[in-house]
Amino acid sequence: MSTLNLSGRLPARDELPTLAAGMARTLIVPLMGLLVFLFAWHIAARNIDTSLGQFPGPVQVYEQSVNLIAEHNRERTKEVAFIERQEKRNAEKLAKDPSAEVRIRDYTGKPTFFDQIGTSLVTVMSGFVLASLLAIPIGILIGLNSTLYAALNPLVQLFKPVSPLAWLPLVTMVVSAVYVSDDPLFAKSFLTSLFTVTLCCLWPTLINTAVGVSGISQDLKNVSKVLRLPFLTHVVKIAIPASLPAMFTGLRLSLGIAWMVLIAAEMLAQNPGLGKFVWDEFQNGSSDSLGRIMVAVLVIGLIGFLLDRAMLALQKAISWDKNAVLR
């Protein structure tokens, strides 16, 4: 695709036109699109007045992103100072009385935008991994066995379209009731978000894996039968490699859904994360709020895109068919 010269050698004279064409396609055209979008956004934003002031344009959003970074850095400096003070105090206490009880407290400052991103990423990956661990084996089983498929298919079809918001109250109540511990390893809010994400992003992986496995060519099934491969060998040597492309299609869809669901769940349930950030800003209602929300929107989009690219890279690394065009 790209004709960017990576070898470090200067392009020959006759290569220059194609190089220029390649540059135009890979850099200039997308850049033009972006510029047109920014301009349209700018014009549109100027004409929308809300109760919280003018709708943020590109400039305000840029300003707010700078602010958010600054806030984050301020908060980190405060944290470092807090820990230093605490250590100093504790050292003094110990110097006076070696047997004194020393308490180490965590810094309890407000989580910044970037802390929220971190929380959201951890939650989404946990939920997604749990969903995959459930969906892939079940998908393989129902793909191999048409009776199991017939048994599970109605359930899958029933639960697949359920919105995360419908699950959320139930999950919250169940987690509160079941996960009772004095020294919890995980926060309840984390578990609520995690299970909501899992319940919603299970289905694409499950269905695609099942379709992939059930679509294995009869010839390969016959090979397996003639060899009398045991079930596990059949799964490992034939079912999984054959369904890998379909499985990855499912995984990528699942991860996309997981990310969308998570934001909604965090927003509604006040679980820490980007969703909560957006909700807090909305409730805050300062003149900066809309700009900050817009930053969050862009970041959410960017992270979703990066997650998909990461899955694609993983698929490319694992896929046996290096000739397949993956996009």
């Binding site: 016959n222 090979v223 039968k225 003639v226 060899l227 491969l229 490699p241 068919d321």
Partner: protein, 337 residues
């Protein structure tokens, strides 16, 4: 696949699990002209097909693809199955492989009834059927591990895999994956995989059908060479008259479907090793070719050409089928009662 539902019927017809008693209504079948009196076969029957018939369920009722196929094959014999497309050659092979279950009748190999697929009846599939995610070596390895995991050590297995790939002249590219090698090479690997199972019977379903003429000739020569050393029992399906005459000890010619059966069996008494160029002028070779060609194009003209020619026998066949279905339904009802 669907034929499994008929396995109950087959079991019903089994008395001692070794031999089949052909269902009563089948014995009323018209007699098929058969000239199966090879001297070899009288010595020892290695593989025997007795009264093999198969019905496939269709929305319009059962479709009888094969009707009363009888065949005795001696150890080390090379048999070709030849016939027009759709005459059920592959179905015969799949029944011997155990991938299909005969509706009535059955297959006995070395005194044991064939009920399911197994590596002692290795299959070379028409379109190679290699696992695309494994290299040639790994494809053979999968089979070798499965068959010899208890009897061979790791080093022995490796030698055995390499030996079999060398046998089909694929040792130079054994670590390449199927998409990196040509069609002929894939088919060689497919043959190596089947040979590596040390099968009692090697089943080949049009193994060279998808290859160009030159590659096909190469592979036929390779196969003859391997056959000289290993002396396997082989059943091969082919469309190619020359291939059948060149390779076979006997050629089994099948009648047209539906309800196809064995039409004639031709013994090929040409000395081995056979040389394709020398045989091209051989009168006996040409005579055998003529026999097969006349069976295919005079006695068993393709249904399509039949219709064009005039008198059509179809209604009679349909009537026959219908009668048989009613007979079967009746016998089923009798069984139930």
């Amino acid at each position: 696949m669907a034929s499994y539902s008929f396995s109950e019927l087959v079991k019903g017809a089994t008395l001692n699990g070794v031999r089949f008693i052909v269902c009563g209504h089948l014995q009323n079948n018209r007699m098929h002209p058969q000239t199966s009196t090879s001297p070899k076969e009288q010595v020892m029957t290695h593989l025997e097909l007795t009264g093999v018939s198969i019905d496939f369920p269709t929305p319009k009722g059962a479709f009888r693809a094969l009707d009363n196929v009888n065949l005795k094959i001696a150890k080390g014999e090379f048999i070709s199955l030849i016939g027009h497309s759709g005459c059920g050659k592959s179905t015969v092979l799949n029944i011997v492989a155990g991938l299909y279950q005969a509706t009535t009748g059955g297959v006995v190999l070395d005194g044991k009834e064939v009920r399911e697929p197994g590596p002692e009846r290795a299959v070379v599939f028409q379109n190679h059927s290699l696992l695309p995610w494994l290299s040639a070596y790994e494809n053979v390895e999968l089979a070798v591990r499965q068959v010899f995991r208890r009897t061979k050590s790791k080093a022995e297995m490796r030698d055995w895999i390499e030996h079999n790939l060398a046998l089909v002249h694929m040792d130079h590219a054994m670590h390449k994956r199927p998409d990196e090698i040509s069609g002929g090479m894939k088919q060689r690997v497919g043959i190596a995989r089947a040979l590596a199972m040390e099968p009692k019977v090697l089943l080949m379903d049009e193994p060279f059908g998808a290859l160009d003429a030159l590659t096909r000739a190469h592979l036929q020569d390779s196969l003859m060479e391997i056959q000289t050393t290993l002396n396997n029992t082989v059943i091969m399906i082919t469309h190619d008259v020359d291939e059948a005459v060149l390779l076979s000890d006997r050629i089994v010619m099948m009648t047209n479907g539906p309800a196809a059966s064995v039409g004639e069996i031709l013994d090929i008494e040409l000395e081995r090793p056979r040389d394709r160029i020398a045989l091209a002028d051989d009168t006996r070779y040409n005579h055998y070719r003529h026999e097969v060609l006349s069976f295919l194009y005079e006695k068993q003209r393709h249904p399509a050409t039949d219709e064009a020619a005039g008198p059509v026998k179809k209604p009679e066949v349909a009537q026959d089928l219908q009668d048989r279905n009613t007979a079967k339904a009746e016998s089923k009802a009798a069984e139930a009662a």
